[in-house]
């Protein structure tokens, strides 16, 4: 366990080096020179992915605090995919909106490095550092359009509230350290297992504070209030990145801490997470119905999806644990692609992200409309898409673990949610195009990313078994 090799941090390192390379290249860039900064980032991501695959089944540990077990590596691969797709979508957007390319790509890569660190952290303090690395990068990305007052306000709100929640999280770590004498997850776990009968209230306080920190990052109700503002204010690509990457990383750490370290106390936290899950699913869905801005609607939708993931966490049986990983992947690809379409339809002058901007899209951009339809059907959980399999798994895990109430709420909210996803489909196909809103051209790279995501969504819906096996294997390594 005390191997001090650096194997486990190699994926993170690749991404970080790529980020540094992007920064360096930007610094020495001649005025007016166009550099393939995104491509540089892709090289780093591919390197990281290769190293992650090579680390598979090796359970490498570095410095005792970063552990590249299969669970962490699965999430790492999901995160790398998220970053890759984000960069591919960004290629169009950065140029179109005149965003500072060097800063933009470097921040995306730093955030990715932070996410990977969070997914593989084996120490509460490392989780915290990772959380801060990714958060600060994401705060800046939210406000990267410096001339847009909405974006600035969103970034500021996100930052203030994020700092607030970090304080709770840190406080939770302090309590844990005070009790267990260590922040290393394995040692804390040993302590907790020994204390499971003690009923020490301080343990519960520590647990509660950590729960708050995680709940904020995955925007669980009532810690979700920043989400719609931040998601609406950020550029659509960044929103896609935040709503999938940050959520996946935070969920990985959440699951690792609560399903292993605090497993002996599951009787204490499960009822609370039950409540959070129910409130999150209900509020995300019901409020989503009333939205007319697509980004805001998808923001509430992603809140609701966080609720479904929480259901998997509550129903932490063997099926439920694998379901979380599958759902993370399915949701990440789908949501990212949906935000990708939104991003590609915007122009420098107008975001075009109101529902009415999608009227008759089928007539002007049939391919984008068709791809968006698949995303929305998957988000709504209609067969045969990735979203359907993910939901099916989550809910059958809940039912077999005896959480009938959660399953009933979950199925109900997902049924209701289809209503607002399909409203967009109706807009695109069954409404006349009001005026000739000429959507901008889409670059081949972005289109390739979209088509690949859609292919993945359908493939995951039709042939989920290999990925499910993969997920089941990887979760088996730690819990």
């Amino acid at each position: 366990m005390f191997s001090s090799g650096i194997d486990a941090v190699v994926p993170m390192l690749c991404v970080t080096l790529a980020a540094l390379a992007v920064m360096g290249a930007e610094a020495f860039r001649a005025r007016g020179e166009q550099l393939p900064l995104g491509g540089l980032g892709v090289v780093g991501l591919v390197g990281a992915a290769i190293s992650a695959v090579l680390l598979w089944n090796r359970n490498a540990v570095s410095f005792g605090v970063v552990v590249a077990d299969n669970f962490g590596l699965f999430v790492t691969l999901v995160l790398l995919l998220v970053a890759l797709l984000t960069i591919m979508f960004s290629s169009t957007v950065v140029r179109r909106d005149g965003l500072p390319a060097g800063e933009y790509y470097a921040l995306v890569l730093f955030a990715t490095a932070g996410m990977i660190m969070m997914a593989t952290a084996n120490d509460l303090l490392v989780v915290f550092i990772a959380l801060e690395i990714l958060s600060i990068a994401v705060y800046v990305l939210t406000g990267i359009r410096r001339d847009d007052s909405r974006a600035i306000e969103a970034a500021f709100k996100y930052f203030l509230l994020g700092a607030f929640s970090s304080a709770f999280f840190l406080y939770g770590i302090a309590f844990t350290y005070g009790l267990a004498g260590s922040t290393r997850l394995d040692r804390v776990g040993t302590y907790m297992a020994a204390q499971s009968m003690s009923g020490n209230p301080l343990i519960l306080v520590a647990l509660g504070l950590l729960l708050v920190g995680f709940a904020f990052k995955i925007s669980a109700v009532p810690f979700h209030m920043w989400t719609p503002d931040a998601y609406e204010g950020a550029p659509a690509v960044v929103t896609g990145f935040m709503s999938t990457g940050v959520k996946a990383a935070a969920f990985a750490a959440f699951a690792r801490v609560f399903l292993s370290v605090f497993e002996p106390f599951s009787g204490e936290w499960a009822p609370l997470v039950w409540l959070l899950a129910a409130a999150t699913m209900i509020l995300g869905t019901v409020v989503g119905v009333a939205q007319s801005n697509l980004k805001r609607m998808l923001a509430y939708s992603s809140i609701a999806h966080g609720g479904y993931l929480l259901v998997g966490l509550v129903a932490a049986n063997q099926v439920g644990k694998a379901a979380i990983l599958f759902y993370l992947l399915a949701y990440a690809v789908t949501n990212l692609a949906a935000f990708g379409v939104i991003a590609l339809l915007g122009t420098r002058e107008a975001a075009n992200d109101e529902l009415r901007d999608y009227a008759g899209l089928w007539h002007t951009r049939p391919a984008l409309a068709a791809l968006m339809t698949v995303c929305l059907l998957s988000l709504g959980g209609l067969p045969p898409t990735a979203g359907f399999i993910g939901k099916w798994y989550i809910f059958s895990a809940a039912v077999s673990a005896g959480y009938y109430g959660l399953a009933v709420i979950g199925v109900l909210t997902s049924v209701v949610s289809v209503f607002f996803y399909l409203r967009v489909v109706v807009m695109m196909y069954m409404t006349d195009r009001p005026a000739a809103i000429a959507p901008p051209p889409v670059s081949a790279v972005a289109m390739a990313a979209l088509v690949a995501s859609i292919a993945a969504i359908i493939a995951l819906g039709i042939l989920p078994t290999p990925v499910l096996d993969f997920a089941a294997q990887s979760i088996a390594t730690i819990f």
């Binding site: 019901v286 409020v287 694998a322 049939p366 399999i389 798994y393 399953a407 209503f419 042939l463």
Partner: protein, 650 residues
């Protein structure tokens, strides 16, 4: 080979969706029809193969691959052809192909792009419907179940420039989601309780259990949830309200989806799980009562509607009610028999009404029709055959199937339900012939319409060849389809019943020794047949008297009981009731309550309360931040307090 059956229409969909806008109508329409015919041919070959097998062993199964596998639960993508599925695929591909052909003429005025869009939806629908009936387990069935719902929704709203069409699509969707909700819960419940969703394995497992007589146990709950799903898809009380509105879609769509195939999916689902439902007598009784009440209620509404398609829509709801009644009586064969004959005559009636509407350039109000018999002979004669068949006139298809339902109901001792069904039959004959009389007989009343009748009359043409072909073939089917199930009492052998019977037993179970039909039973059956024949002919005579000879009589009756008339005309005010009781509260609740209320105001308010307490103490802090950030932080703070409070003070 089974997988080919849904694959053909799926290919048609893909090609038309991808390239349709660049294809000419002959190409896109021709392709759509060709894939349906190909699918029909493969279906015929498969059923032929099935028929060649030994009775009781008639199952062709194709597992394409393992779809979902985790732990003990393995769900395969399995297609399974058994006698029940065989009847269904022949109906879906056969009648489906005819309706595709009919559509090539009916939709001809659309632009190329719209034409291709129409056919791509129609093909996609057929593909999903075939997945639904061929699916070997609940999850595959559910893929089809959701898919046909989606296509139905898209096709109802096909003419989206009409607000009513767009609204109708939305309504169909929302109502169906309620049903689907229960359906998913039912599936999950079965999966957890029995560890499988495969129809055959479920049947085997359940067959070993005693029926839940007198107790409402797990099977009863699961089947009831599934039945709620069926009431959504098959338009039964309380979820029937979407179907009449669905008539906003193109008429061939009404014929295919909202009469012949999709709406019967609920009946099929019960037949598919006959063993399961048989073990839940409580649910079966509910099914029967809901079916009977729906049949009667929809029949009465159909009597006073003036839109030709709406009359047919209520008729469909009513006939579906009779099918559910049969299922509820445990007479699964009778229910499927009626499903099968109904597919012919109701598709025919819809296509006939389409031909009328086509000829009259969109007129759907029967008060402005009349006298079309001579002008549209093909349409008239085929429509007449369809009407006679649905009315239950002896020796046409509807007679045999409806009679079997009535007989089974009576034989099971449910004479109240039998009476309801008999009255429904009378209503059926009456409203159908009201339709025939007002549309085709009497004088032309088109003059009263704003369109100049002279010009219209000169343009009036009977169904073009593609439409006529479909009408004639379906008319022959409507007349003869019933001979697949001639009862023993009439000297027949009910081959359809015998063919279907193994599908309603657990696999490997021995057939229950059929009670030899004694002369007494045959006598009873013959008596009942005579009664229902008299009802059918009486209903027709009544309609002819009232709406042909003495028009004023109908108005007089309506004037005599204005309250009842208005109640029926307004469909028992169910839509209004649902609006007031369900729709409005939800809309207000979502927009005003949870969003503005909870998410913005209440949290805001509560927080402003605490925040202003703090602020009052330290006045300088006021208005440093925007209100909303303070509110958001407050929301989090409340969350923290609740979570910690839960631990500290519980």
């Amino acid at each position: 080979m089974l997988a080919l059956i849904p694959l053909f229409p799926l290919l048609g969909f893909l090609v038309n969706a991808a390239l349709g806008r660049r294809l000419r109508k002959t190409a896109s329409g021709g392709l759509a029809c060709a894939v349906m015919v190909a699918s029909f041919v493969v279906a015929m070959l498969s059923v032929g193969e099935l028929a060649g097998m030994a009775e009781g062993a008639r199952v062709i199964e194709q597992t394409v691959y393992t779809w979902i596998a985790s732990g003990d639960v393995v769900l395969d993508l399995t297609f399974r052809l058994d006698p029940l599925a065989a009847v269904m695929i022949l109906v879906v591909t056969g009648i489906g192909a005819l309706i595709h052909i009919y559509s090539t003429a009916y939709m001809h005025e659309e632009t190329d792009g719209e034409y291709a869009r129409y056919f791509s939806y129609l093909n996609l629908f057929a593909a999903f419907m075939l997945v639904l009936v061929l699916g070997g387990n609940f999850l595959v069935l559910f893929v089809g179940w959701e898919g046909v719902g989606l296509c139905s929704y898209l096709l109802i709203g096909f003419w989206f420039t009409k607000t009513s069409a767009a609204d109708a699509g939305k309504k169909a969707f929302v109502v169906n989601r309620i049903g689907d909700y229960a359906f998913v819960l039912g599936m999950l419940f079965l999966l957890v309780r029995f560890g499988t969703l495969d129809f055959q394995r479920l049947a085997s497992v359940v067959a070993a259990l005693p029926p839940e007589a007198g107790a409402f146990g797990a099977i009863s709950v699961a089947t009831l949830l599934l039945f709620i799903g069926a009431t959504g898809k098959s338009a039964q009380i309380p979820l029937y309200t979407w179907l009449p509105d669905a008539m906003e879609g193109p008429t061939p769509v009404s014929a295919l989806i909202h009469a012949a195939t999709m709406v019967t999916a609920g009946v099929y689902m019960i037949g598919r799980n006959a063993v399961l439902f048989s073990h839940a007598p409580g649910t079966l009784l509910i099914v029967a009562i809901v079916g009977a009440v729906t049949a009667l209620m929809a029949g009465t509404i159909g009597l006073v509607q003036n839109d030709i398609k709406r009359v047919l829509a209520y008729s469909t709801v009513s006939q579906l009610g009779l099918m559910f009644l049969a299922m509820g009586m445990g007479a699964f064969g009778a229910g499927i028999f009626h499903l099968y004959t109904h597919a012919f005559f109701k598709a025919l009636l819809f296509l006939g009404s389409g031909a009328v509407i086509h000829a009259l350039h969109g007129e759907q109000d029967i008060r402005r029709m009349g006298g079309l018999k001579r002008l549209l002979p093909v349409t008239y004669w085929t429509f007449l055959i369809g009407s006679l068949a649905i009315a239950g006139v002896p020796f046409l298809s509807g007679f045999f199937s409806k009679d079997e339902i009535l007989y089974e109901t009576f034989a099971a001792g449910h004479w109240i339900l039998w009476t309801v069904a008999a009255v429904t039959s009378l209503l059926t004959a009456t409203y159908m012939f009201r339709l025939v009389c007002l549309t085709f007989h009497g004088e032309r009343r088109e003059a009263s319409s704003p369109a100049p009748s002279h010009a219209a009359a000169s343009h009036l043409h009977d169904a073009p060849p593609a439409m006529a072909l479909a009408l004639v073939v379906l008319a022959v089917g409507s007349a003869l389809a019933g001979y697949a199930g001639v009862p023993h009492a009439l000297g027949g052998t009910n081959p359809l019943g015998a063919w279907l019977a193994p599908s309603f037993r657990a696999p490997g179970a021995n057939p229950v020794a059929e009670l030899a039909e004694g002369s007494g039973a045959a006598g009873l059956e013959l008596t009942l047949m005579a009664v229902s024949s008299a009802i059918a002919i009486g209903g027709i005579a009544l309609a002819a008297t009232v709406w042909l000879r003495r028009r004023q009589l109908a108005d007089a009756v309506a004037a005599r009981v204005p309250g009842l008339y208005r109640l029926l005309l307004n469909k028992y005010y169910v839509d209004e009731l649902y609006d007031a009781a369900v729709v409005t509260p939800i809309r207000v609740g979502s927009a005003e309550g949870l969003w503005r209320g909870v998410d913005v105001a209440v949290i805001d308010g509560a927080v402003n309360g605490t925040a202003s307490l703090v602020a009052a103490g330290s006045g300088a802090l006021r208005r440093i931040q925007t209100g909303s950030v303070r509110a958001y932080a407050g929301s989090m703070f409340i969350g923290v307090v609740v979570i910690l409070g839960y631990y500290l003070w519980r």
